[in-house]
Symmetry: C2
Subunit: 143 residues, 2 copies
């Protein structure tokens, strides 16, 4: 899947983020690789074509994106933050065996949200996380 530079810069602009070579490269990576990568995965894949790229820039940029809601940061995995570019809201499934993260189409129930609002909590964001075994790992283990 290929994304054009105008696609990227307009998405950045829509979230008030000015473009730069690094930001475009990182956002392109997120748009083209829907595998919920970590900062380190992104750094390691981009360093080949961007030899002066710094790890700090990758971290800074990802949090700039996340703070401006241009991507979302997933805390489903205890040891690494994963980043997710996606148009529609959805839930995530983490396989406890292989560690892969899968998207799950989600119809968010308003029941839970209203109970949070009832407790005077001002909800800005909601995440639904599943854990278990993906189909491949389940087949291997036969359990």
């Amino acid at each position: 899947m290929t994304v054009t530079v105008p696609d990227i810069t307009s998405h950045l602009a829509a979230h008030g983020i000015r473009p730069s070579a690094q930001r475009i490269a990182i956002m392109r990576y997120l748009m083209e690789n829907r595998v919920h990568p970590t900062a380190d995965m992104i750094y390691n894949d981009l360093i080949a074509d961007n030899p002066t790229l710094s790890r700090t820039t990758v971290y800074n940029t990802l949090w700039l994106f996340a703070d401006n809601h241009a991507v979302s940061a997933l805390t489903i995995d205890r040891t690494n933050t994963h980043f997710d570019y996606s148009e529609k809201p959805h839930a995530h499934f983490l396989c406890r065996c292989c560690g892969k993260i899968f998207d799950v189409p989600a119809i968010i129930s308003p029941i839970v949200q209203s109970s949070a609002e009832h407790a005077k909590l001002h909800v800005e964001h909601m995440d639904i996380h599943y854990t278990g075994l993906c189909n491949d790992c389940h087949s291997i283990r036969q359990n």
Copy 2:
């Protein structure tokens, strides 16, 4: 809130965990302090009365509890794992300002779960995480 030793040992036994002085102390802490503590908080509070307690024991014990579903491990906060003893399933709210975690009574919608099962994902556990501002932080910031 005070919990008796038989309360603790029977809860451990119900999850196949043999009692020890350290395990009882840590489980007691979780039962009596429903503040979603981190391993470090537990260690720092228990070390006063248990001067030979080791950090490693706290980590090992908490994961022993979590692996046997005697408590649950929360990944809502990116930097620390929080632990939660609770009888009923519920969602969690993390305040992005003060960092406190609040319980939210949850009626889990079966709609989302079925979409995960449809994707042949074998769900074992589900978490609902909210982020936003708690009432106190919201009042201070007036936004």
